[in-house]
Every structure is written in structure tokens, then in C-alpha cells.
Point group: C2
Chain length 303, copies 2
Amino acid sequence: MQDLSEQQVTEYLNLLKSEIDSRLDEYTQFGPDCPKTLSEPIRYSLLSRGKRIRPTMTLLACELSGGVRSKAMPAACAAEMIHTYSMIHDDLPAMDNDDLRRGQLTCHIQFDEASAILAGDALLAYAFEILARKLFPSGLAGECVAILAEASGPLQLVGGQADDMSWNAGGGTSLEFLESIHHRKTGMLILAGLRMGARIGGASETQKKMLEEYGNNYGLAFQITDDLLDWVGDEEMTGKRVHKDKSQGKLTFPTYLGLDESKKQAKERVEAACAALANFKTPHQLALQALVRLTRNLLERKK
Amino acid sequence: MQDLSEQQVTEYLNLLKSEIDSRLDEYTQFGPDCPKTLSEPIRYSLLSRGKRIRPTMTLLACELSGGVRSKAMPAACAAEMIHTYSMIHDDLPAMDNDDLRRGQLTCHIQFDEASAILAGDALLAYAFEILARKLFPSGLAGECVAILAEASGPLQLVGGQADDMSWNAGGGTSLEFLESIHHRKTGMLILAGLRMGARIGGASETQKKMLEEYGNNYGLAFQITDDLLDWVGDEEMTGKRVHKDKSQGKLTFPTYLGLDESKKQAKERVEAACAALANFKTPHQLALQALVRLTRNLLERKK
């Protein structure tokens, strides 16, 4: 792997994030035909200070596979819309009842419950409209819709949340079940972002396989470090309530494994994710190093 | 138009409905990977006694255009899933707060609010998965996703509901605005069903134009008669609460126009819808007569 400077990687990642932010802004300039009572909560939640992990993964997977990232931008934004919708709905009083997210009041607190439900619904439908209208040719759009819809559907994202809800009310308690919930709630959407990027970039079967292996490990590392943040994180840095899962006795990786073992497992998953990319052949070394950077950063997550 | 017997038309419409019901059942056999806490509310709401107007329109439009209706079945079911999701969410306490729908308790009463929110979310995502995975070739799937997602998105279905919500809280009061809300909330999804069916059936430009004209008139007639049912309908027949809009002082067609003028306008719209089909050239006379029947039936709606 050609060694590019740390600075180059940082600038590249910042550039990707700013491109994603601009495009999300552009896609949600709905104009006068959209009620303000709807466009405001949508934009409030979508354009808040997100890390843009999923869309960044989509763009990186596209470039790694030899594609031009602008082509993957609709898919990247669609993945972020799905992520934002799921947070808006998960935060609702009937669900996790959270009041802080991304450093600001949650959507239903800033506006009201009806607005938050509708903003989430609109983002969910709009993600597929963006894919179908902005990705060409339409066959490629159809394939990306299949990938993203599956990750968002009853067997994955929504199913994971449903199990998370009933589990809190006294369901199963195995580590396997915990991992399964997180895989469906979080891992699959990250994977979907990578899959769409790989598909749009024209990845080879070998490249696809490596990205799958990478994504599975990244997803789990992401969730373990997310749980760790709830234990040891800072509210101002994370932009959301901490110690909440802990105080509610919710089963998390640290509850189950203890702090030290959780940190160890996160580290192992990060190494496994990076190892999956070790022999990745790509014309875009910068994208490869950026993906490795994002992965190693998980171990120093502050938000 | 060749005159087929009333009986033939009735049998044909019943056959379509039973085919739709079976396929909806089949598509939601999620198996053990879907939590029961999710699959049960989904199936409870989706498989209840719906009129299946939207999916029937999709199948009819396909056959009218010369296609085989089995090809349009995924699109038909996707339209019904979107319709069902929107009813589940509209019935929530933070929205219209209804307790009766399709002759049974609403989803959040039968289960709980979280389950109803998640069942709606899952149906919304799943509709697009069905389109993307079951319609071939994938380019056709992409086009149908564009049609259905647009009808379900912030400018249409969700936007209409947002305006309906804020209007109840004291927004605008013109007849034009009332029609615009209903067009977005109801008309566009009916149109989307017709459009997908026409696209899948390979409709000519002339056929598409006639179906658009038809759908616009049908949609409005449907909504006026829906409002009339709230005034003069029977709870047992409609399967939902009646006199609710009226008692809440919600602006409806009868409030605005009076009962007689509303009935007159519904009749005019039905005539206009049928007139749009008068010169429709189709190899499938039965489908054409069935569509006319469905339209005329609006004037005798009991549910």
C-alpha cells in the first residue's frame, strides 16, 4: 500500500463529508409544494451534525472498486436518509424516548410527535425516490433499491428494533441475540451502503467479498464502541444522552462482557476489518487508506 | 363496448380481489427471522378486510393495456402496503387518534404504539423491496419504484397528511386547498397504482393519458364519497368511526359544499372518469367494464 500522508487522508475524508452535506441539503430543497411543517423537521434532523459514516462508506466503496464517487452520491444520500429516519422514529416517546441526538433536541421535542413521525416516513420514502430517479441506468437503480430496502425492512432494520424493544421488556439474553439485534439494526445498513457503492463502482467478485468481510467486522466494532460510549462517553462530545442504557439496565456489550473484554473485542474486530482490506487491489489508494483510517478511528471514538 | 354480463364482471372482480389477498398473505410469510412482535401487527393490518381498490386498479390497468395481470401483482401488492402503512400511522394517537379501522381495532390499540409505528415503517420499506425483487427486468422495477416512491413522499402522501394535520390546527380553508390535500393523500397513490399497471402492461401514450384523466377524476370522486360516508355512513358497514370529522368540525366536502352539492360533484366526477374511458381501445373488455363498474359503485358506497 503506497503511503499517503495523514494530511492527505484527512483532507480527502473532509472533502467527502462536505460533498455529502451539500448534496443532502440540495436534495431536500423541496420548494413551496412541500409543507413547511414537514420540510423543517426533515431538514432539522437530516442536516444536523451527523458523522455521515454510511454515505462515506458508499462513496469509498465506489472509488475503491474503480468507480467515480459522484455516481454513487444518490445512493450515499439515500443511506443517510434511511439512517436519519430510523433515528427519528427510534427516539419517539413510544420507542426509546430520547430527547437529545446529534447535539440537539430530538425531532419530536423540537417540533411535535406527529411531525417527527411524518418526517421519518417522508425520509424513508424519499430515499427510494432518490435512488430511482437519480441513479442511472434504471436497472442499476432497481438493484440498489433492492439492497437498501432489504436492509431497511422487516427482517433487518425494523426487525432488529422490534426485538430490541421486546427485549427491553424482558426477552432473550444471549450474546448471540445481542449481536443479531445490532447486526440487523446497524450492521446491515452499513453493509448496504458498502454494497451499493461496490455495485455502482463495478466491483469484482473478489472486491465484493472483501468488502462484505470488512463490513461485517466494522459493523460489530462500531456497535461495541457505541455501547462503550454510553458507559464512558461525554454527553457534549457524543451529542446524545449517555449512561442511559446502563442506568436502564439494558443489555449491552459492556454489561455482558465487562469493559475490558468489550474493548478487547472491539480491537479484534477493527483488526479483522482492516485485515479484510489488506490484499484489496484498487486504483484508488487514497480511498483505501481513508477506509482503514475510519476503521482505526473507532477505537478512539468520542462521538 | 361489448356487453358482458353483470355476473361476469362481478366474478372477475372477486377473482382479482382473492388473488390480491392471497399474494399479500404469501408476501408476508416472513418466517422465523422476523420477530412475531412485528409480523403480527403487519399481518393484522394488511390482511384485514380491505377493499383493495389500489391493487385492483393496478391489475386492471395492466390488463387494459394488453399485459398479463400476474406480472403486475408485485406492484399491486406494493401499492396496498403503502396504503396500509399510511393508515396505521395516520391512526396513531399523535395523528388522527382513531380506534377503529376496517372493522377492527386499529393497530396501536390492538398491539401498542411502538408496534404500530414499526409495522408501518416495515410495510413502507417492504413495498419497495417487493417491487425491486419481484418485478423484472430490473429497469422496470426501477421505474415502478420511482412512481410509487414519488406518490408516497414528502410532496405527495406525507405532505398531504402534514397539511391535513396543520389545517386541523387552523390552517387554510379554500376548496382548492381541500382538493389539494386529498389529491396528495389519496389521489396520487391511486394514480400511482394505475401508472404502474399501465407501465407494466405496456400501455400506449394514448392509453396512459386516458388512464391519467380517469384516475384524477376517480380519486376526487372517491374522496368526496369518503367524506359523505363520514356524514351519512354506518359504522358497522364502513368498519371505521363515522361522524368523526363532522363532530370535530374538520373541513370536508359536505362541510364546504353541503350534502346535495357534494353528491352532485361526486356524480360529475364519476361521469368524467367513465367518459375518459369511453374511447379506450383494449383487447380486454372485461377489465374495462370492471373499471367502469368500480367507478359507478362509488355513488353507492357503503364502505
